[in-house]
């Protein structure tokens, strides 16, 4: 079955509610987000603004109890939320893969890198059948592929790495192994959650350069979640700024960094220490609000330095400023 689709991934009015002791918390409020084929997209925002929840909703990693998901997530034109979990598993984890933040904890410490990679590659070689016992022939092939992918992420001596346990590798090497694992299924979309934040700057620069090169070569789309604005500016084509479960601004990366419009985006950019060393800005007052007591109007209202009276009760609608540049703010438009 082939469907015609414009975007590889298109999230439409995604809403997630967590059932909490004190009531329903609307953790995502009508999030719209799209990634085209081969595009590099960044999602930025503070801790607790819904970046990771959005990605978990795509990957079907949210808990099933006490969580309500509304809206739709189209992948290649099919709504993932309407598929049963077996059909969904053919997509997430295979065509859409995720690289997690911490390379220290995402690998199993009691198996060698080789064993872990063979299992994942072999699972797909065997036609994604359940159960992991592989015929010898397939295991051999899986191992050869694993070595090839390790070489693709520029790890010297793949054979030695296949035989090592995660604790024998450095942070940067582990992150490379995770990227190799993500590539192993030849995905169309990689979701990277804070790649390289656990690493040193020089290693982080190497990892980002490598990811950039790999997705370019293979035409893989990249969706990168991070709170590091510098990383977003240097690696992505387009960027979404999230605050308290809503997308407040989206634009081409260069345009957003040159001319941020939403007060939150401005505040965030202002807070980053700059290299010219003209002192630090004041940051943004307060912190991300409690989801159980969210302001009924604009969610940024309590912290906004330029708030208007109507911001308190009237949620702003997204407005198009120019092609690709959307802002949700009463001050604009």
């Amino acid at each position: 079955m082939t469907l015609t689709y414009k975007q590889l991934l298109e999230i439409k009015d995604l809403t997630v509610d967590f059932d909490r002791f004190g009531g329903k918390a609307r953790v995502l409020n009508r999030v719209n987000l799209a990634v085209a084929k081969g595009e590099k997209v960044g999602v930025v925002g503070e801790t607790g603004c819904g970046k990771s929840v959005t990605m978990k909703a795509v990957m079907n990693l949210l808990p099933t109890r006490r969580v309500t998901v509304g809206g739709s997530i189209f992948y290649k034109g099919r709504d993932l939320l309407t598929l049963d979990r077996f059909a969904r598993r053919q997509i997430t984890g295979k065509e859409v893969v995720m690289i997690f933040q911490d390379p220290m904890t995402s690998l199993n410490p009691v198996f060698t890198i080789g064993q872990q990679m063979e299992d994942i590659i072999g699972y797909n070689l065997a036609g994604a059948k359940r159960g992991l016992r592989l015929p010898k022939r397939l295991r051999q092939e899986a191992r050869e592929q694993a070595a090839r992918f390790l070489a693709a992420v520029k790890l010297a001596d793949p054979e030695r790495i296949l035989n090592s346990y995660p604790f024998q590798l450095s942070g940067g090497m582990r992150q490379r192994v995770l990227i190799a694992l993500a590539l192993a299924n030849q995905p169309d979309l990689i979701i990277a959650d804070e790649p390289g934040t656990a690493l040193d700057v020089t290693t982080q620069a190497q990892i980002l350069e490598l990811m950039d090169q790999l997705v370019q070569e293979r035409g893989i789309a990249l969706l990168m979640i991070t709170h590091n604005l510098g990383v977003v500016r240097e690696t992505t084509d387009r960027v979404y700024v999230m605050y308290a479960g809503t997308v407040v601004e989206t634009a081409a990366t260069d345009a957003l960094f040159a001319e941020p419009l939403h007060p939150y985006t401005k505040g965030l950019l202002d807070s980053v220490p700059k290299l010219h060393g003209q002192g630090l800005s004041a940051g943004i007052e307060g912190s991300v609000p409690d989801y159980l007591q969210m302001n009924p109007g604009c969610r940024f209202y309590p912290r906004c330095p330029q708030a208007l009276p109507k911001c308190e009760f009237e949620p702003p609608e997204p407005r198009s400023i120019s092609e690709n540049h959307m802002v949700s703010c009463h001050l604009i438009g």
Binding site: A205, L268, V272, P273, K274, S287
Partner: protein, 316 residues
């Protein structure tokens, strides 16, 4: 010690034994800090940058006495305190903020009555811009930024002259980081404090530190007033570090050295390379670098660098 300095560190060395085998015998050592000397002036922010494993946190811990130096001396004036990286784990989760702050007060100001204690706690909380009512709260009901403020208040409780800040904001969001740093700098002016700021965030260092020292595998490879270090980085490692910073504007891009990436990662401190410890990754390594460890040389007033590319160039 000269009359003006608040801290003098001279040839500080810390080796950790590596134990292993059945008898837990030492069979090697990690050279975490290997001959580091520097001085800090009153009201100065001394910055220490470097990758993980470069020994910067070990220096912080040596200063406050959490480790005993293998050799070398640390001379300082007044009291010294420390603020740790992760406020979530450096505060006792079962103790209210008030109790946390009372303990150092009771230790350092013996004979305070309960009322005086409570009053002093309230003062400390006001000083870090928290509502005095927070004294009755437990750390779990505070945000990350608020917890770090409590940790700062705790450090202030004993009236120190010098505070070691070990990555004070790296667990916080940028919007919160700006506020905490502002507070730290205001307190410095108010109370005439000096800081040792340990961080891997070079952009932060650029804005906060007066003098910055770059560390690599237990040694200081370059040290200069911050503005000078960022404008004229002399050591290839400093240049690589600066080039790797992700920045948020085109103007800043122009301030970075031209893009270069190093191969590989920082070597294990168990096996520090011979000669200059950076020669295995250095884009400009020469033959001499593999044999002779470079000494810190003064290339400009206040600007010192340990690299064979500088200094004795005229002679060879």
């Amino acid at each position: 010690m000269n009359s003006s300095e608040v801290l003098v560190v001279d040839k500080l060395v810390k080796y950790f034994p590596v134990k292993g085998g059945f008898w837990r015998r030492a069979h090697g050592q990690v050279r975490a800090v290997d001959g580091v000397s520097f001085t800090v002036q009153p009201c100065q922010v001394f910055g220490l940058v470097g990758e993980s494993g470069s020994g910067k946190s070990t220096i912080g811990r040596l200063l406050v006495g959490l480790y005993r130096p293998t050799s070398g001396t640390i001379t300082y004036r007044g009291k010294m305190q420390m603020v740790f990286q992760n406020p979530g784990s450096s505060l006792n989760p079962r103790r209210t903020v008030g109790k946390t702050l009372e303990l150092p007060l009771r230790l350092h100001h013996k004979g305070l009555t309960r009322k005086e204690l409570r009053q002093r706690v309230a003062e400390l909380l006001t000083q870090v811009e928290l509502n005095p009512e927070y004294a009755n709260k437990l750390p779990r009901s505070l945000s990350g930024g608020q917890k770090q403020r409590v940790a700062i208040a705790r450090a202030l409780a004993s009236d120190p002259k010098f505070i070691v800040l070990d990555e004070p904001t790296s667990a916080l969001d940028v919007s919160v980081q700006a506020k905490i740093i502002k507070l730290i700098l205001e307190l410095k002016d108010q109370l005439q404090l000096s800081y040792l700021l340990i961080s891997h965030d070079l952009s932060l260092m650029r804005n906060v530190a007066d003098v910055t020292a770059v560390m690599y595998l237990g040694k200081i490879v370059e040290i200069a007033p911050t503005a000078e270090l960022f404008a004229n980085p002399a050591h290839p490692y400093t240049q690589v570090l600066l080039a790797s910073i992700p920045v948020v504007s085109v103007e800043e891009e122009a301030l970075k050295p031209t893009k270069r990436l190093v191969e590989g990662e920082i070597p294990s401190p168990l096996q520090i390379p011979q000669g200059c410890s950076f020669h295995t990754r250095c884009p400009e390594a020469m033959e001499i670098c593999t044999r002779v460890a470079p000494e810190l040389l003064t290339i400009n007033p206040d600007h010192q660098v340990a690299c064979h590319l500088h200094g004795k160039r005229g002679e060879s």
